[in-house]
Symmetry: C2
Subunit: 180 residues, 2 copies
Amino acid sequence: MTKVLLHTTMSLDGFIAPEDDSTEWMFGYGAAGSLGMETMQRLGAVLSGRRGYDLGNRPDDGERKLYGGMWAGPVFVLTHRANDVPDDPNVTFLSDGIEDAVARAKAAAGEGDVAVLGASLSQQCLEAGLVDEVVLHVVPVLLGAGVRLFGSGGPAPLRKIGGDGVGQITDLRFAVEGRG
Amino acid sequence: MTKVLLHTTMSLDGFIAPEDDSTEWMFGYGAAGSLGMETMQRLGAVLSGRRGYDLGNRPDDGERKLYGGMWAGPVFVLTHRANDVPDDPNVTFLSDGIEDAVARAKAAAGEGDVAVLGASLSQQCLEAGLVDEVVLHVVPVLLGAGVRLFGSGGPAPLRKIGGDGVGQITDLRFAVEGRG
């Protein structure tokens, strides 16, 4: 059954991007664990916020592409600016709210999962009770400032269902309690 | 050689206490990994903030005692209120700043390590470059609000030097880069 996942790289102090949106902070920690690839292979669709989409489509900025440019399946982008969307044949822009967006992405995902990307969208999905799993790659750095993954919704109990703590990056997989 | 450690339990979203300072959120996740006990066994002294000390010494509030009441070695408490300290034979109150407090705790620790407890003190020590290691027990819960362990100091690169991801609680041990 299709699950809705938050899937992101996060600093130890909870940021998914520094203030300047640069990405260097997440690289240089050796071989990745297997959880990232396994999670990507389970995906059937990706749902991103508009900010993340725009960041990923600036010229000469390949590192911000979804999954480093390796994702070739359906991509949905939720935006408030329905009349101001680029002509992108690989993306379906949606503007009818979070519930609709998740439903559309799930329908497109078939037997696969839906990855929700971006802090604002992740927080909205968590608060709406739409998230089944949280998959994190925790980088051993304190950024101190930037975009926080988690907001003030909560408390929300989780249950750890996987992960890998061997490398510098700590992979963690949680089920949201009361879901699935 | 004596190391200065931050040692705390933290929610996945970075809080060491909820807004009401209750402690129930950190219990009920099964057997602890070995890192907590190993860390405690390496200690020679504990340095706490005043807020944590006061919380730990309210009547009928044993859970907030340092290490659940198991710590019997030297305890130092840094406080701005030097003229308003309780008569506690087990504690040395200090008011000459963070550098002095850490130096005093290290001197008392002998060959052991110094655990720094409390968010404010931890952030001060990090920003002053006094921390050698960060030891965390990450609880699978999103608290959403409360007392954050890490502040806006940074960025600070870390290097993972240990941990255990098997149980519900994820144990993580980091060296602060450029130290030791």
